[in-house]
Point group: C2
Chain length 266, copies 2
């Protein structure tokens, strides 16, 4: 029997002694002025980022929007990037898909069978039948949006119904659906107090924590709170990709710096 995703994730993170997740949000608009943003150059840059970090980075996250922006040519680039990573690290498809059962099944097939991602982010608004088609792949992971790091998170996630906030209701549902030990939550680093309560509520669910760095979340406390009760990945995108002059040296240096802080707080 194949190992469950959460078990596999824990193993990989332990073997590399890190929970760093590098977000491959390759953005032509953020490259330095002397970079010519052709698709070919962007692809080559994305592979460079992997090459100079894969020996110590346990997880990459591919933000689908940044590839789909270029149509099928961008999706082909994403396919080649996945081949390049070659399962040397875990790769999360950050597409925040979420649809009725019949369509959610197509998305799960797309991300898990066709592209061969190891995990995906999923949006919960449509309820349990939008989550279960992903949950039915025990060896693949699904991180459900719960408490996000953006300002708009207040619009719905922080509404209270009965004695629970909406994001707590999401967390409780995901815990119920975690029959195969393969589910997790997206929990923004920008809400430390809420994170503490949520961590004790969601024992064993893996966490994906965005919002450290560019969005202002605190790295040390995120590592600390998130990993108290399960694996919590710390996603960093802009803070690594566009650090210094974006050469392999400065990317590696920045990623190693994040790794060191993570290790000090694990």
């Amino acid at each position: 029997m194949e190992k469950s995703f959460n078990f596999k994730l824990k193993e990989v993170c332990q073997s590399k002694n890190s929970v760093l997740c590098i977000g491959l949000d390759i953005d032509a608009d953020r490259m330095s002025n002397d970079f010519s943003p052709t698709l070919e150059n962007l692809e080559s840059f994305s592979k460079d980022v992997v090459d100079c970090t894969v020996d110590f980075c346990p997880v990459y996250k591919i933000n689908l929007g940044f590839y789909e922006r270029y149509g099928s040519a961008g999706v082909s680039w994403m396919e080649r990037l996945l081949v390049h990573i070659q399962h040397r690290s875990i790769v999360i498809a950050d597409g925040k898909r979420g649809d009725i059962g019949n369509t959610a099944k197509q998305y799960a097939k797309s991300l898990f069978d066709t592209f061969e991602f190891d995990a995906a982010t999923v949006s919960p608004y449509m309820g349990r039948d939008s989550i279960t088609p992903f949950a039915e792949y025990p060896e693949k992971g699904a991180f459900i949006l719960c408490l996000t790091s953006n300002s708009g998170s207040e619009d719905f996630q922080f509404l209270k119904s009965g004695d629970r906030y909406i994001y707590q209701t999401v967390a409780d549902l995901v815990k119920d659906l975690n029959l195969h030990n393969n589910l997790g939550l997206v929990v923004g680093a920008t809400h430390p107090n809420r994170m503490r309560e949520l961590r004790s509520r969601t024992e064993n669910l893996s966490w994906l924590i965005p919002g450290v760095g560019a969005q202002g979340g605190d790295l040390a406390s995120s590592v600390n709170i998130g990993n108290a009760n399960g694996t919590a990945l710390i996603n960093v995108s802009r803070g690594i990709l566009y650090s210094g002059d974006s050469t392999q040296d400065s990317i590696r240096e920045s990623a190693l710096k994040y790794t060191k802080t993570i290790q000090e707080n694990l």
Copy 2:
């Protein structure tokens, strides 16, 4: 100045005297046994559906999951299908994207600039900054998930916070963001009583109504309630694509039957 999306949608629907939206959820698993489900054949089928309905169908909806399932090859098929439709009808990208501002901007670019869709469905869970990048294209539409037609809709949408259900809070926010008369809501046909109240609450917002047919929603009352106060599109997918023997004749016949019922209730 280009016309706003909701104005353009109304014009197109009036000129064809219909609010039918054919959902192009081309599903290899639902084709008849003698159909060989190669990508080439599926593409040819999708174009046949358009060819035999485009003279009277005002709107098509492309469900991205059914194309992404085939990776970049499926996305290329979708690109060619869009070229084939050639702006003869309005085309909605049903991808239910929803992400923080910076990424939502990439998805809006992808769907509106690269693929040249006329509108997109958007998921509200992450709040207003996941919606505004779409809203900032006045001539393009965004239908925000509000009250969906699936069973899981009860998990979050029907929770009450203060005096409003979550789906009502979504509707009110979208109404506030509709500065360019280009926003709409996804409202499932399976909740007639809730639809009535929601329609009076969301004057001028366009509606996209799935759930008629396969999911059991009532066609006549959906047309009637939905169009009382703005344009409401009735989406039918399986009920048309897989009707009879799925030849152009039976697809056209089925689509015309839906059109007739729509016209009787407009």
